[in-house]
Amino acid sequence: MSTDLDILKDVSTEEYKYGFTTNIEMEMAPIGLNEDTVRYISAKKNEPEWLLEWRLKAYRQFEKMEWPSWQNFEMPSMDLQSISFYAAPRKKAKLNSLEEVDPELLATFEKLGIPLTEQKMLAGVAVDAVFDSVSVATTFKGKLKEMGVIFCSFGEAVQEYPDLVKKFLGTVVPHTDNIFAALNAAVFSDGSFVYIPKGVRCPMELSTYFRINAENTGQFERTLIVADDDSYVSYLEGCTAPMRDENQLHAAVVELIALENAEIKYSTVQNWYPGDKDGKGGIYNFVTKRGICKGVNSKISWTQVETGSAITWKYPSVILRGDNSTGEFYSVALTKNKQVADTGTKMYHIGKNTRSRIISKGISAGEGQNSYRGLVQVGSGADNARNFTQCDSLLIGDQCGAHTFPYIESKNNSAMVEHEATTSKIGEDQIFYLNQRGIDTEKAVALIVNGYAKEVLNQLPMEFAVEAQKLLAISLEGSVG
């Protein structure tokens, strides 16, 4: 109950409080992108031959592909030959031992609100901390392992559980999917790996915190989550980056696999550096996220709170293959200044009695541009498929924009697809009403926006809902009045 108030209390005048840099000695791949870059990364990670081959195949695919042009913004020019595709702190941490993590890195994560040391770890949340291209620490690993839950960095999974990785890698997002997926498959460095065994309800939130620090790099992580029969997991990712004048590319791939009766809840609180008020700098967040409900009665739920990045471009999707499976997508995307978001979801109904629910809440302020793009596809065998889509846009000021591109393709007459859309402005009478009760305009807007986004914020795990509310309030500062 105290959440709204906490947000308000913490509203500060800082613009982007995660913009600091960590000074640490880094090992970087030579600038540029070619087959040798791919080999360099694979060698650094001591990968088996099959994985190198897999990467090279993806690289060759990437070379054949072209940048897309259908998106609702102008594709920025990106010179991939001028950045380094691998950046890792030189002092290497020994796996399984937090004591040997560079104190500078521990301090960095602590400053970001992610304490990693035993004494200070967040209770009930296991964290994998990724710094530029590598995972630096994973908490509660031992405790999880007792239950058979695997939660580790992707690099470690390749070494320790190669069969699992080989079995599932690229099965949901093939490297041919799109140019960024191909690029990622070729040069991905780290990320998280999760496996929940049959019948296990993961006892804590799993979470990965991504931090970009190095200059002239991109971050290309890969996350793979497999929930075996009758299992459950809730996973959350957070991310921040220093303030820099040049743009940095973040092109991640996330694959989720839910087997029979399994449920995966995947939440994102995205707060990459958004660039300054004139649109200078910021992260290009071009991400491919997809899950498959492979087994009957399985469920995948995406929740995202997107406040950062110069450009956010992603459509977390669900393939509803198993009969009676459910896909959900809950999104709040906030754009201000010159930020752009082109985001939404795709729900592919293949199995019988499959259900999907899409709740998208766009918030545009300043000169921000917000597009919802969604596809609901019902295959011929998907008897009794059901979809409900609610797509709302909230405008603050009159220089911003909201756009919706809903696509529906149905090949089955028994399908029921519902789409509702609204566009609203924050009313002056609403603000005056709150003013009249002693609440100033900035806080009034934060209250109204959090109320508007409530249905989505409610989906987040408790620990992060408050954070997300604060983030919305802080992100809107200065964009009113």
């Binding site: 105290s2 108030l5 009313g427 005056f432 009403y433 009249q436 009760r437 609440i439 209250l447 109320g451």
Partner: protein, 260 residues
């Protein structure tokens, strides 16, 4: 407590308040009546600082401070409360969180710490009981989907929670059923403590039977054209406003009648 002198205000270039005078002392209840469009809500809006209204002359002092110089939120924090004629809906914002925020903002302004969750809940329960306010409504989103009467009752519930020095009730009685009117009036009477004041805008004498005013004023074409005691309300109920319209130009005479 409140001293309004020769107040003039316009909206979109049209003058609505044309030299209004009113004195409200601590502990008093003043009723303002007057035909539709005479400027009653405008007066409430101007006093609380609604943006669309331009003050073109005169002054309004609240406990000696220039009220018109303060931001709307500071006026509220100083202790001016308006129960709106048309309360707005704010989807998704829970009534309780909103009240807690408002209460703590007002406390912070006075240099008081936030109310502890326990104390807040105690206060909430107490006021709910006082006003026979439905707990289910308190837990819902602010006015979202409330019936007309429920919105009005919520205004009075907020009034009870925030405990202002001066409360302006703009047609709180319209839309209330007979029982609700009695409950709300009883609540307002219980909230009276000899120090706080009320300005009650209404069209109906009935409300004034429950909340007995010390003074009744008639606002017509942006001025107070007649002031009297509660008997004036009865007279208005009987005769309407026509007899006043004829001598509305005699504003000087009306001023003499003002209570001091």
């Amino acid at each position: 407590m409140l001293s309004i002198k020769n107040l003039k205000a316009s909206v979109e270039g049209k003058e609505i308040l044309k030299g209004l005078n009113l004195e409200v002392n601590a502990g008093e209840v003043h009723a303002i009546m007057g035909p539709n469009g005479s400027g009653k809500s405008t007066l409430a809006s101007v006093l609380t600082g609604k943006e669309a209204y331009d003050v073109t002359g005169g002054q309004a002092l609240f406990e000696g401070k220039d009220l018109l110089d303060l931001s709307p939120e500071d006026r509220a924090r100083e202790g001016v409360f308006l129960a709106f004629q048309y309360p707005v809906e704010i989807p998704g914002v829970s009534n309780i969180n909103f009240l807690k925020t408002a209460l703590n903002e007002i406390r912070a302004y006075k240099g008081l710490p936030n109310l502890e969750a326990k104390e807040f809940l105690k206060l909430l329960k107490e006021k709910q009981k006082l006003l026979e306010f439905d707990a289910a409504l308190a837990n819902r989103s602010l006015n979202e989907g409330f019936s007309g009467g429920e919105k009005k009752r919520n205004e009075i519930f907020q009034l009870a929670m925030l405990d202002p020095k001066l409360a302006i009730l703009d047609e709180t009685d319209s839309g209330l059923d007979i029982d609700a009117l009695r409950i709300v009036s009883r609540g307002v009477n219980k909230l009276r403590n000899g120090k706080n004041s009320f300005i009650i805008i209404t069209h109906y004498q009935r409300l004034l039977e429950y909340i007995v005013p010390d003074f009744v004023h008639v606002l017509y074409k942006g001025q107070i054209v007649k002031s009297g005691t509660k008997e004036l309300a009865l007279e208005l109920e009987e005769k309407g406003y026509d007899w006043l319209k004829e001598d509305s130009h005699e504003t000087e005479a009306a001023e003499i009648l003002l209570p001091r």
